[in-house]
Protein backbone atom coordinates (compact mmCIF):
# COMPACT_ATOMS: atom_id res chain seq x y z
CA UNK A 1 0.00 0.00 0.00
CA UNK A 2 1.44 3.36 -0.92
CA UNK A 3 2.07 5.79 1.87
CA UNK A 4 1.72 9.51 2.13
CA UNK A 5 4.18 11.80 3.86
CA UNK A 6 2.30 14.08 6.20
CA UNK A 7 3.54 17.05 8.14
CA UNK A 8 1.37 18.80 10.67
CA UNK A 9 1.45 20.37 14.10
CA UNK A 10 0.70 17.95 16.91
CA UNK A 11 0.12 19.41 20.38
CA UNK A 12 2.36 22.35 19.57
CA UNK A 13 5.20 20.48 17.88
CA UNK A 14 5.78 20.10 14.14
CA UNK A 15 5.74 16.40 13.20
CA UNK A 16 6.24 14.37 10.04
CA UNK A 17 5.09 10.82 9.34
CA UNK A 18 4.83 8.34 6.49
CA UNK A 19 1.42 6.77 6.79
CA UNK A 20 -0.64 4.46 4.54
CA UNK A 21 -3.06 6.63 2.56
CA UNK A 22 -6.13 4.78 3.83
CA UNK A 23 -5.41 5.43 7.51
CA UNK A 24 -7.44 7.79 9.64
CA UNK A 25 -6.18 10.49 11.97
CA UNK A 26 -7.19 8.32 14.94
CA UNK A 27 -5.19 5.32 13.80
CA UNK A 28 -2.18 7.55 13.11
CA UNK A 29 -2.35 9.22 16.52
CA UNK A 30 -2.57 5.89 18.31
CA UNK A 31 -0.24 3.73 16.24
CA UNK A 32 2.40 6.14 14.96
CA UNK A 33 2.53 8.71 17.75
CA UNK A 34 1.39 6.36 20.54
CA UNK A 35 -1.09 8.92 21.81
CA UNK A 36 -3.82 6.64 23.11
CA UNK A 37 -5.98 9.25 24.84
CA UNK A 38 -8.32 9.46 21.86
CA UNK A 39 -10.25 6.16 21.82
CA UNK A 40 -11.95 4.14 19.15
CA UNK A 41 -15.48 3.50 20.41
CA UNK A 42 -17.83 3.07 17.48
CA UNK A 43 -15.40 3.95 14.70
CA UNK A 44 -18.14 5.63 12.65
CA UNK A 45 -18.58 9.07 14.17
CA UNK A 46 -21.41 8.35 16.59
CA UNK A 47 -19.76 8.13 20.03
CA UNK A 48 -17.19 10.93 20.08
CA UNK A 49 -14.59 8.99 22.11
CA UNK A 50 -12.04 9.89 19.42
CA UNK A 51 -12.71 13.65 19.52
CA UNK A 52 -9.69 15.85 18.89
CA UNK A 53 -9.42 19.52 17.90
CA UNK A 54 -8.24 20.33 14.38
CA UNK A 55 -7.65 24.03 13.62
CA UNK A 56 -9.92 24.95 16.52
CA UNK A 57 -12.80 22.63 15.59
CA UNK A 58 -13.80 19.45 17.44
CA UNK A 59 -13.83 16.55 14.99
CA UNK A 60 -14.15 12.77 15.05
CA UNK A 61 -10.60 11.51 14.42
CA UNK A 62 -11.99 8.10 13.40
CA UNK A 63 -13.57 9.60 10.25
CA UNK A 64 -10.73 11.97 9.38
CA UNK A 65 -8.68 10.68 6.45
CA UNK A 66 -5.02 11.19 7.29
CA UNK A 67 -4.12 12.93 3.99
CA UNK A 68 -6.48 15.75 5.04
CA UNK A 69 -4.35 16.61 8.08
CA UNK A 70 -1.45 18.07 6.05
CA UNK A 71 -0.53 21.50 7.43
CA UNK A 72 -3.18 21.46 10.16
CA UNK A 73 -2.94 22.11 13.91
CA UNK A 74 -4.01 19.06 15.91
CA UNK A 75 -4.69 19.14 19.63
CA UNK A 76 -5.30 15.90 21.53
CA UNK A 77 -6.04 15.31 25.21
CA UNK A 78 -2.30 14.80 25.74
CA UNK A 79 -1.70 18.44 24.77
CA UNK A 80 -4.34 20.00 27.00
CA UNK A 81 -2.40 20.19 30.30
CA UNK A 82 0.43 22.72 30.54
CA UNK A 83 3.96 21.44 29.77
CA UNK A 84 4.75 21.57 33.51
CA UNK A 85 1.98 19.03 34.08
CA UNK A 86 -0.54 21.38 35.69
CA UNK A 87 -4.03 20.49 34.54
CA UNK A 88 -6.34 22.59 32.40
CA UNK A 89 -9.33 24.00 34.35
CA UNK A 90 -11.65 21.60 32.49
CA UNK A 91 -9.55 18.60 33.56
CA UNK A 92 -9.40 19.90 37.12
CA UNK A 93 -13.18 20.41 37.18
CA UNK A 94 -13.84 16.87 35.92
CA UNK A 95 -11.75 15.49 38.79
CA UNK A 96 -13.28 17.71 41.47
CA UNK A 97 -16.83 17.18 40.32
CA UNK A 98 -16.80 13.43 39.57
CA UNK A 99 -17.12 14.02 35.84
CA UNK A 100 -15.22 10.76 35.28
CA UNK A 101 -16.41 7.25 35.98
CA UNK A 102 -15.00 4.54 33.69
CA UNK A 103 -13.03 7.17 31.79
CA UNK A 104 -13.53 5.91 28.23
CA UNK A 105 -15.48 8.97 27.07
CA UNK A 106 -13.50 11.44 29.16
CA UNK A 107 -10.82 12.55 26.74
CA UNK A 108 -13.43 13.12 24.02
CA UNK A 109 -15.71 14.96 26.43
CA UNK A 110 -12.88 17.25 27.51
CA UNK A 111 -11.90 17.98 23.91
CA UNK A 112 -15.49 18.87 23.00
CA UNK A 113 -15.74 21.03 26.12
CA UNK A 114 -12.46 22.75 25.30
CA UNK A 115 -13.54 23.53 21.73
CA UNK A 116 -16.72 25.06 23.18
CA UNK A 117 -15.03 27.14 25.88
CA UNK A 118 -12.29 28.37 23.52
CA UNK A 119 -15.04 29.89 21.39
CA UNK A 120 -17.71 30.64 24.02
CA UNK A 121 -16.08 31.23 27.41
CA UNK A 122 -19.42 31.68 29.20
CA UNK A 123 -21.81 29.15 27.67
CA UNK A 124 -25.43 28.56 28.67
CA UNK A 125 -26.32 25.04 29.78
CA UNK A 126 -27.99 24.50 26.40
CA UNK A 127 -24.69 25.36 24.65
CA UNK A 128 -22.88 22.79 26.80
CA UNK A 129 -25.47 20.12 26.05
CA UNK A 130 -25.25 20.85 22.34
CA UNK A 131 -21.43 20.82 22.40
CA UNK A 132 -21.29 17.34 23.97
CA UNK A 133 -24.28 15.88 22.10
CA UNK A 134 -21.83 13.89 19.99
CA UNK A 135 -20.05 12.38 23.00
CA UNK A 136 -21.67 9.31 24.50
CA UNK A 137 -21.17 8.48 28.18
CA UNK A 138 -22.69 5.25 29.47
CA UNK A 139 -21.77 5.80 33.15
CA UNK A 140 -22.55 9.24 34.49
CA UNK A 141 -25.93 10.17 33.06
CA UNK A 142 -24.17 13.39 31.96
CA UNK A 143 -25.19 15.48 34.97
CA UNK A 144 -21.74 15.57 36.58
CA UNK A 145 -20.14 16.14 33.18
CA UNK A 146 -22.29 19.19 32.49
CA UNK A 147 -21.65 20.47 36.02
CA UNK A 148 -17.91 19.92 35.53
CA UNK A 149 -17.91 22.02 32.37
CA UNK A 150 -19.93 24.73 34.14
CA UNK A 151 -17.43 24.64 37.00
CA UNK A 152 -14.53 24.98 34.56
CA UNK A 153 -15.96 28.25 33.23
CA UNK A 154 -15.72 29.66 36.77
CA UNK A 155 -12.12 28.46 37.21
CA UNK A 156 -10.97 30.36 34.14
Amino acid sequence: MNTVSISFNLNGDPVVADVPRDWTLLKTLREVFELTGAKEGCGVGDCGACTVIVDGDAVNACLYPIPEIEGKQVLTIEGVAKPDGSLHPIQQAFIENNGVQCGFCTSGMIMSAKALLDETPEPEEADIRSAIAGNLCRCTGYVQIIESIEMATKHE
Binding site: G45, G48, T51, A58, V59, P67, E68, A133
Partner: protein, 293 residues
Amino acid sequence: MIAYDYLKPKDLAETFKLLDQHGRKAELIAGGTDVMVVVKQSNRSPDTLISLRGIEELRYIRKNDGYHIGSLTTHRMIEKSTLMQNELAALNQGAAQVGSVQVRNVATIGGNICNAAPSADTAAPLMILDAVITLKSRQGERQVPIREFFVGPSETVKEWDEILTEITIPEQMGTYGTAYCKHARRKAMNLPIIGVAVGLSLNTDETIGDARIALTVAAPTPIRIDEAEDFLRGKSLTDDILKEAGLIASSPECCSPRDSLRCEGWYREDMVRVLIPRVAKEAAMNAKSKMNR
Protein backbone atom coordinates in the same frame (compact mmCIF):
# COMPACT_ATOMS: atom_id res chain seq x y z
CA MET B 1 -9.28 -5.18 4.18
CA ILE B 2 -9.74 -1.56 3.24
CA ALA B 3 -7.19 -0.47 0.68
CA TYR B 4 -7.94 2.60 -1.31
CA ASP B 5 -5.85 5.30 -2.80
CA TYR B 6 -6.66 8.82 -1.60
CA LEU B 7 -6.09 11.72 -3.94
CA LYS B 8 -6.25 15.39 -3.04
CA PRO B 9 -6.65 17.66 -6.07
CA LYS B 10 -6.13 21.38 -5.46
CA ASP B 11 -8.75 22.75 -7.80
CA LEU B 12 -11.65 21.74 -10.03
CA ALA B 13 -9.51 21.38 -13.17
CA GLU B 14 -7.29 18.83 -11.46
CA THR B 15 -10.33 17.02 -10.05
CA PHE B 16 -11.87 16.61 -13.51
CA LYS B 17 -8.56 15.26 -14.79
CA LEU B 18 -8.42 12.68 -11.99
CA LEU B 19 -12.07 11.70 -12.59
CA ASP B 20 -11.22 11.18 -16.24
CA GLN B 21 -8.22 9.01 -15.38
CA HIS B 22 -9.93 6.81 -12.80
CA GLY B 23 -13.44 6.75 -14.23
CA ARG B 24 -16.13 4.92 -12.32
CA LYS B 25 -13.58 3.16 -10.10
CA ALA B 26 -13.16 6.42 -8.21
CA GLU B 27 -15.59 8.04 -5.85
CA LEU B 28 -15.75 11.65 -4.68
CA ILE B 29 -15.43 12.39 -0.98
CA ALA B 30 -16.06 15.73 0.77
CA GLY B 31 -16.47 15.86 4.58
CA GLY B 32 -16.37 12.07 4.66
CA THR B 33 -18.97 11.57 7.39
CA ASP B 34 -21.06 9.40 5.05
CA VAL B 35 -18.42 8.00 2.68
CA MET B 36 -15.99 6.96 5.44
CA VAL B 37 -18.79 5.25 7.38
CA VAL B 38 -19.79 3.19 4.33
CA VAL B 39 -16.16 2.32 3.64
CA LYS B 40 -15.60 1.21 7.24
CA GLN B 41 -18.86 -0.62 7.75
CA SER B 42 -18.89 -2.49 4.47
CA ASN B 43 -15.15 -3.19 4.37
CA ARG B 44 -15.54 -2.41 0.72
CA SER B 45 -14.22 0.70 -0.84
CA PRO B 46 -13.75 2.17 -4.27
CA ASP B 47 -10.21 1.80 -5.65
CA THR B 48 -9.73 5.51 -5.28
CA LEU B 49 -11.26 8.30 -3.24
CA ILE B 50 -10.92 11.74 -4.80
CA SER B 51 -11.18 14.33 -2.06
CA LEU B 52 -12.80 17.71 -2.73
CA ARG B 53 -11.77 19.03 0.67
CA GLY B 54 -8.75 20.94 -0.61
CA ILE B 55 -10.84 23.00 -3.04
CA GLU B 56 -11.27 26.08 -0.85
CA GLU B 57 -12.94 28.03 -3.67
CA LEU B 58 -16.09 25.92 -3.08
CA ARG B 59 -16.44 26.95 0.58
CA TYR B 60 -18.56 30.12 0.82
CA ILE B 61 -21.91 31.67 1.70
CA ARG B 62 -22.69 34.82 -0.31
CA LYS B 63 -25.68 37.02 -0.96
CA ASN B 64 -25.44 38.69 -4.30
CA ASP B 65 -28.45 38.45 -6.63
CA GLY B 66 -29.65 35.42 -4.66
CA TYR B 67 -28.01 33.29 -2.02
CA HIS B 68 -24.98 31.30 -3.13
CA ILE B 69 -23.68 28.42 -1.05
CA GLY B 70 -20.54 26.62 -2.19
CA SER B 71 -20.92 22.86 -2.09
CA LEU B 72 -18.05 22.42 0.40
CA THR B 73 -19.65 24.76 2.92
CA THR B 74 -19.94 22.87 6.20
CA HIS B 75 -23.15 22.49 8.17
CA ARG B 76 -21.42 24.34 10.99
CA MET B 77 -20.80 27.37 8.73
CA ILE B 78 -24.52 27.48 7.85
CA GLU B 79 -25.43 26.99 11.52
CA LYS B 80 -23.25 29.93 12.62
CA SER B 81 -23.99 32.26 9.70
CA THR B 82 -26.05 35.26 10.83
CA LEU B 83 -27.16 35.75 7.21
CA MET B 84 -28.63 32.22 7.22
CA GLN B 85 -30.14 32.68 10.70
CA ASN B 86 -31.85 35.93 9.74
CA GLU B 87 -32.88 35.26 6.18
CA LEU B 88 -33.11 31.50 5.54
CA ALA B 89 -34.15 30.20 8.97
CA ALA B 90 -35.31 26.74 7.82
CA LEU B 91 -31.98 25.95 6.18
CA ASN B 92 -30.13 27.23 9.23
CA GLN B 93 -32.27 25.00 11.47
CA GLY B 94 -31.79 21.96 9.22
CA ALA B 95 -28.01 22.34 9.07
CA ALA B 96 -27.81 22.92 12.85
CA GLN B 97 -29.54 19.60 13.57
CA VAL B 98 -27.31 17.29 11.56
CA GLY B 99 -25.36 14.81 13.72
CA SER B 100 -23.10 16.43 16.31
CA VAL B 101 -20.75 19.42 16.42
CA GLN B 102 -17.94 17.05 15.39
CA VAL B 103 -19.92 15.92 12.35
CA ARG B 104 -21.16 19.41 11.40
CA ASN B 105 -17.60 20.78 11.54
CA VAL B 106 -16.62 18.63 8.55
CA ALA B 107 -19.83 17.45 6.85
CA THR B 108 -20.69 19.56 3.80
CA ILE B 109 -24.04 20.64 2.40
CA GLY B 110 -23.03 19.34 -1.03
CA GLY B 111 -22.31 15.97 0.53
CA ASN B 112 -25.63 15.94 2.37
CA ILE B 113 -27.48 16.50 -0.92
CA CYS B 114 -25.38 14.12 -3.07
CA ASN B 115 -25.68 11.37 -0.47
CA ALA B 116 -29.43 11.71 -1.08
CA ALA B 117 -30.62 10.04 2.09
CA PRO B 118 -34.46 10.25 2.24
CA SER B 119 -33.87 11.77 5.71
CA ALA B 120 -31.31 14.48 4.80
CA ASP B 121 -31.87 17.44 7.11
CA THR B 122 -30.98 20.11 4.56
CA ALA B 123 -33.19 18.60 1.85
CA ALA B 124 -36.63 19.76 3.03
CA PRO B 125 -35.44 23.34 3.64
CA LEU B 126 -33.77 23.45 0.21
CA MET B 127 -36.96 22.11 -1.39
CA ILE B 128 -39.14 24.94 -0.02
CA LEU B 129 -36.45 27.47 -0.93
CA ASP B 130 -36.54 26.41 -4.61
CA ALA B 131 -32.79 25.78 -4.55
CA VAL B 132 -30.98 25.29 -7.85
CA ILE B 133 -28.11 22.82 -7.97
CA THR B 134 -25.11 23.59 -10.20
CA LEU B 135 -23.36 20.52 -11.60
CA LYS B 136 -20.04 20.98 -13.38
CA SER B 137 -18.19 18.55 -15.58
CA ARG B 138 -15.35 18.77 -18.05
CA GLN B 139 -17.91 19.41 -20.78
CA GLY B 140 -19.54 22.35 -19.06
CA GLU B 141 -22.17 22.96 -16.44
CA ARG B 142 -25.91 22.59 -15.93
CA GLN B 143 -28.45 23.87 -13.45
CA VAL B 144 -30.94 21.44 -11.92
CA PRO B 145 -33.92 22.55 -9.80
CA ILE B 146 -33.78 20.63 -6.52
CA ARG B 147 -37.21 19.14 -7.19
CA GLU B 148 -35.65 17.25 -10.11
CA PHE B 149 -32.37 16.41 -8.37
CA PHE B 150 -33.37 13.42 -6.22
CA VAL B 151 -34.27 10.20 -8.02
CA GLY B 152 -34.47 7.71 -5.13
CA PRO B 153 -32.69 6.74 -1.92
CA SER B 154 -28.97 7.49 -2.50
CA GLU B 155 -29.75 8.31 -6.13
CA THR B 156 -29.58 11.67 -7.85
CA VAL B 157 -29.40 12.94 -11.42
CA LYS B 158 -25.70 13.76 -10.90
CA GLU B 159 -23.50 11.79 -13.30
CA TRP B 160 -20.27 10.19 -12.09
CA ASP B 161 -18.15 12.77 -13.92
CA GLU B 162 -20.06 15.75 -12.52
CA ILE B 163 -19.29 17.74 -9.38
CA LEU B 164 -21.91 19.63 -7.41
CA THR B 165 -20.34 23.07 -7.06
CA GLU B 166 -23.04 25.44 -5.83
CA ILE B 167 -26.49 25.63 -4.34
CA THR B 168 -28.30 28.80 -5.36
CA ILE B 169 -31.45 30.15 -3.73
CA PRO B 170 -33.54 32.90 -5.36
CA GLU B 171 -33.25 36.22 -3.51
CA GLN B 172 -37.02 36.55 -3.03
CA MET B 173 -36.94 33.49 -0.73
CA GLY B 174 -35.21 35.68 1.84
CA THR B 175 -38.50 37.56 2.28
CA TYR B 176 -40.44 34.38 3.14
CA GLY B 177 -40.89 33.17 6.68
CA THR B 178 -39.50 29.63 6.91
CA ALA B 179 -39.14 26.91 9.52
CA TYR B 180 -37.98 23.30 9.70
CA CYS B 181 -38.91 20.62 12.21
CA LYS B 182 -36.87 17.47 12.60
CA HIS B 183 -39.07 15.03 14.47
CA ALA B 184 -36.84 12.43 16.11
CA ARG B 185 -36.63 10.34 19.26
CA ARG B 186 -33.59 12.18 20.57
CA LYS B 187 -32.50 15.79 20.31
CA ALA B 188 -29.18 14.96 18.67
CA MET B 189 -27.26 12.22 16.87
CA ASN B 190 -30.37 10.88 15.29
CA LEU B 191 -32.07 10.78 11.91
CA PRO B 192 -35.55 12.26 11.63
CA ILE B 193 -38.64 10.07 11.82
CA ILE B 194 -40.16 12.77 9.67
CA GLY B 195 -38.84 16.15 8.49
CA VAL B 196 -41.18 19.07 7.77
CA ALA B 197 -40.25 22.42 6.22
CA VAL B 198 -42.71 25.24 5.58
CA GLY B 199 -42.21 28.57 3.83
CA LEU B 200 -44.84 31.31 3.85
CA SER B 201 -45.16 34.78 2.43
CA LEU B 202 -47.90 36.93 3.92
CA ASN B 203 -49.98 39.67 2.31
CA THR B 204 -50.30 43.01 4.12
CA ASP B 205 -53.68 41.87 5.54
CA GLU B 206 -51.84 38.80 6.91
CA THR B 207 -53.55 36.36 4.57
CA ILE B 208 -51.25 33.78 3.03
CA GLY B 209 -49.59 34.97 -0.17
CA ASP B 210 -47.51 31.96 -1.10
CA ALA B 211 -47.00 28.65 0.68
CA ARG B 212 -44.32 25.99 0.33
CA ILE B 213 -44.36 22.67 2.15
CA ALA B 214 -41.72 19.94 1.88
CA LEU B 215 -41.38 16.60 3.65
CA THR B 216 -38.52 14.18 4.14
CA VAL B 217 -38.82 10.51 5.06
CA ALA B 218 -42.39 10.69 3.72
CA ALA B 219 -41.42 9.11 0.37
CA PRO B 220 -38.31 7.62 -1.26
CA THR B 221 -37.14 11.17 -2.02
CA PRO B 222 -37.82 14.55 -0.40
CA ILE B 223 -41.18 15.83 -1.72
CA ARG B 224 -43.14 19.06 -2.10
CA ILE B 225 -46.86 18.99 -1.28
CA ASP B 226 -48.44 21.03 -4.08
CA GLU B 227 -52.03 20.21 -3.05
CA ALA B 228 -51.61 21.62 0.47
CA GLU B 229 -49.69 24.63 -0.88
CA ASP B 230 -52.48 25.43 -3.39
CA PHE B 231 -55.04 25.09 -0.63
CA LEU B 232 -53.23 27.59 1.61
CA ARG B 233 -52.69 30.38 -0.94
CA GLY B 234 -55.01 33.31 -0.30
CA LYS B 235 -56.41 31.84 2.93
CA SER B 236 -56.33 33.38 6.40
CA LEU B 237 -53.85 32.13 8.94
CA THR B 238 -56.28 30.31 11.22
CA ASP B 239 -55.89 27.08 13.16
CA ASP B 240 -58.62 25.41 11.10
CA ILE B 241 -56.99 26.32 7.81
CA LEU B 242 -53.57 25.06 8.94
CA LYS B 243 -55.16 21.88 10.30
CA GLU B 244 -56.81 21.27 6.93
CA ALA B 245 -53.43 21.71 5.20
CA GLY B 246 -52.02 19.03 7.52
CA LEU B 247 -54.87 16.69 6.66
CA ILE B 248 -54.35 17.21 2.94
CA ALA B 249 -50.59 16.64 3.20
CA SER B 250 -50.94 13.45 5.23
CA SER B 251 -53.44 11.90 2.80
CA PRO B 252 -52.29 8.92 0.70
CA GLU B 253 -52.49 11.12 -2.43
CA CYS B 254 -49.72 13.36 -1.08
CA CYS B 255 -47.34 11.19 0.90
CA SER B 256 -46.47 7.53 1.16
CA PRO B 257 -44.33 6.97 4.23
CA ARG B 258 -43.07 3.44 4.72
CA ASP B 259 -42.57 1.24 7.75
CA SER B 260 -38.94 1.22 8.81
CA LEU B 261 -36.74 0.42 11.79
CA ARG B 262 -37.21 3.93 13.10
CA CYS B 263 -41.01 3.83 13.05
CA GLU B 264 -44.10 2.63 11.23
CA GLY B 265 -45.70 4.45 8.34
CA TRP B 266 -48.99 5.29 10.08
CA TYR B 267 -47.11 7.25 12.75
CA ARG B 268 -45.23 9.23 10.13
CA GLU B 269 -48.57 10.11 8.50
CA ASP B 270 -49.97 11.19 11.86
CA MET B 271 -46.92 13.35 12.51
CA VAL B 272 -47.21 15.04 9.10
CA ARG B 273 -50.77 16.00 10.06
CA VAL B 274 -49.71 17.25 13.50
CA LEU B 275 -46.49 19.01 12.53
CA ILE B 276 -47.55 20.95 9.44
CA PRO B 277 -49.75 23.38 11.42
CA ARG B 278 -47.01 23.73 14.07
CA VAL B 279 -44.21 24.40 11.59
CA ALA B 280 -46.48 26.70 9.55
CA LYS B 281 -47.14 28.81 12.65
CA GLU B 282 -43.41 29.12 13.26
CA ALA B 283 -42.90 30.08 9.61
CA ALA B 284 -45.71 32.66 9.91
CA MET B 285 -44.04 34.19 12.98
CA ASN B 286 -40.79 34.31 11.07
CA ALA B 287 -42.59 36.02 8.14
CA LYS B 288 -44.22 38.58 10.44
CA SER B 289 -40.94 39.47 12.12
CA LYS B 290 -39.44 40.04 8.66
CA MET B 291 -42.35 42.34 7.69
CA ASN B 292 -41.83 44.40 10.83
CA ARG B 293 -38.08 44.72 10.40
